[in-house]
């Protein structure tokens, strides 16, 4: 009995001692001399296969924050960026979301990269009326639910898939095989492509999904045997890369096409020559496409030592819009509530490096840019020089009821 008691007391005493030590307490910052801190959070995958894109979102937001925080700081607030890693997993995204909303200093979230993470996380944000501005989520469901706190600055997959199908038709393609990665995003855009392609008279020889990441041989064999003119891969570059590379190795002669998930220099790194000449659609043009973006690219390069990844520019604009919204809601210099920030963002009209953005009632940009690009080189460094084949400015479609 005695040792039992002593041990218990010792354990507890140790923990108490540890707690009283002057350790930095994660997340609690000493409020600046002024009215406190305003935090803008980012949620994107900072690890795993899509870390490059996720990192781009974070860094783009960071750049914008440092550039545009002036007005808020003049009002007496300290402005901070809090990045979170959602690991491209809905569970982690939701858990982070709950952590985020507990911190009342967070007024806006810039995120996510994956629609499959954004949709459940936005349910959590909705409960707290926290505004979420997405630089990259293209699945229509993200805004189609009509939540007043969800926004996106990029295009939608129902348009993107259709743009892809239309372009395929213009290339004279008559048969196509569609493969997707079974995620909300990949399957979503693949279905839109298929629907529009069929409407345009392209025969869809097959529609299959797979989560496979390395061994695509058994999938490629039947596809190759059917010999479609085009293979459309709805998914991300970390799967598309090996798939296209293995398909070419097995002698598939079809053309390749895919959505903006393929838009990353890593695709060239993984697949090399297999993807040269293929087309892909995107809601984020290469930075070289936007005139004001050149300065952004230079500042980005100077600060972070690398070229801006896709969606970095979108994150930059999204953050700028967020700051504008907060400043508008903070009229009179008092700290705004989250609902007020969301309402203010609805009213923002902003001309940034990706164009002029104005939101409709659902949170979609009233008009969005869509691109068709062609891969010009197997050198990952040259990804930014991919050739722009077509550019379309399309109004957001009404939700299909």
């Amino acid at each position: 009995m005695k040792t039992h008691r002593a041990r218990g007391v010792v354990y507890v005493a140790l923990v108490a001692l540890a707690a009283l030590c002057p350790w930095p307490t994660a997340g609690s910052r000493v409020a600046a001399q002024g009215k406190g801190t305003i935090k803008i959070a980012t949620q994107s995958p900072l690890s795993g296969g899509q870390a490059a894109l996720g990192e781009g979102i974070k860094l783009g937001a960071q750049l914008a924050l440092e550039k545009f925080k002036g007005p808020l700081e003049k009002m007496g607030f300290a402005v901070e960026l809090v990045p979170f890693d959602d690991q491209a997993k809905p569970d982690v995204g939701v858990a982070n979301a709950k952590n985020l909303i507990a911190d009342t200093n967070v007024l806006v979230v810039i995120g996510h990269l994956n629609s499959g993470v954004a949709i459940p996380a936005s349910e959590v944000y909705k409960d707290a009326s926290l505004a979420m501005i997405s630089p990259a989520n293209t699945n229509p469901t993200v805004t189609d639910r009509g939540y007043s706190n969800v926004f996106r600055v990029c295009g939608r997959d129902d348009v993107q898939g259709a743009v892809g199908a239309e372009f395929a038709k213009s290339l004279g393609v008559k048969t196509a095989y569609v493969i997707h990665d079974k995620t909300t995003y990949g399957q979503g855009v693949a279905e839109f492509f298929k629907a529009e392609a069929e409407k345009k008279g392209i025969k869809i020889l097959g529609f299959e999904g797979s989560e496979e990441k390395s061994n695509f041989d058994p999938i490629i064999t039947p596809v190759k045997a059917r010999n479609p003119e085009l293979i459309y891969f709805g998914g991300l570059y970390d799967q598309a890369g090996p798939f296209f590379s293995q398909a070419r190795e097995k002698g598939a002669k079809s053309r390749f096409m895919g959505p903006d998930g393929l838009d990353s220099s890593d695709l060239a790194k993984i697949a090399g020559k297999a993807v040269v000449g293929m087309y892909y659609t995107s809601v984020a043009g290469p930075v070289s496409v936007y005139p004001q973006a050149r300065q952004f690219a230079e500042e980005y390069r100077k600060k972070f030592g690398k070229n801006p990844e896709p969606f970095a520019a979108q994150a930059y604009d999204a953050t700028a819009i967020a700051l504008r919204g907060i400043a508008a809601a903070a009229k009179g210099g008092r700290r705004p509530e989250r609902e007020e920030v969301a309402a203010a963002i609805h009213a923002v009209k902003y001309t940034g490096i990706t164009g002029t953005i104005e939101f409709d009632k659902k949170g979609d940009p009233k008009k969005a840019l869509y691109f068709v690009l062609q891969v010009t080189s197997d050198n990952p460094e040259k990804w930014g020089e991919n050739r722009e084949v077509k550019r379309l400015l399309i109004a957001t479609p009404a939700p299909k009821m």
């Binding site: 999904g209 390395s214 064999t221 993984i270």
Partner: protein, 323 residues
Amino acid sequence: MDFPLLLGIFPQVLLDGLILGFMYALIALGYTMVYGVLEFINFAHSEIFVTGAFVGVEILLSLQHAGFLDRVSPILVLFLILGAGMTVSGLLAVAVERIAYRPLRGAPRLIPLISAIGVSFFLQDLIRLVESIWRNAFNLVYPGLEPLSRRFELTATVDVSVKALVVIAASLVMLLALHLLVNKTRLGTAIRAVAEDQATASLMGINVDRMISITFLIGGAMGGAAGVLFGVQYSLINPYTGFTPGLKAFTAAVLGGIGNIPGAMTGGLVLGLLEAFAASYLSLLTGGAFGAEYKDIFAFSVLILILIFRPQGLLGEVVRGRA
């Protein structure tokens, strides 16, 4: 039912299945040898397999970076990465045995099994950690070796790449070598003796601990070779790639008869073929209702069925005689 199509892809699927099967056979050897000697499933073997793959890719990437990749003969490069992969994996297996399994030799069966699971998880993230620090990325791509990518188009639907032939040839050589080692050398006899009856073997003057370590070494080396070949064949690897092939290879070992080395080889081939056929034909046969994504369940179902109806496997078990 598009019969010409179904028949047309048959040879290709057969080839794909063989490649997969040989790979499973190599990995299964590790499981079966350890089980034969210790009656213990080395859960961490899947990570030993993937370590070999990572060693291979690191060497290739370094060579590429230094500019040598194009200049050195590809056969030499292949030998190099196979040798390195086998060595590192083999040594890793020995280390794991020493640290995590040996202290638990006498314990009830549950304990070392849980320890093995722990090692498996630990190694997965360790590889990720090391690669994150070393290369800031852990999804790595095997650089292509030029002559390996050459293809021969035999018919409209059958494509044989030099790579596939190399993988099959390498596997065959290693399986043969192992067979010779286990059956025709003194070392092999010692290992088999320890597998049959540890106590008597030690009475006969065999250093049981050393034999066990050597068993792990050989099993690990086979796994490492499989890892390198996996990387060469499928190009993209990450630290978690080992889990599913490892599980399937264990299924193959059980399918052929656990502890039985020719059994593991047979089991591997059979499972590889089954899986390739399931993956390629399933969606064609069911009109798209069930597709290639069910190929993994296929393997597990096979396992469950064997264990229910023929738990000793196709070629019979070879495990320690009970006292």
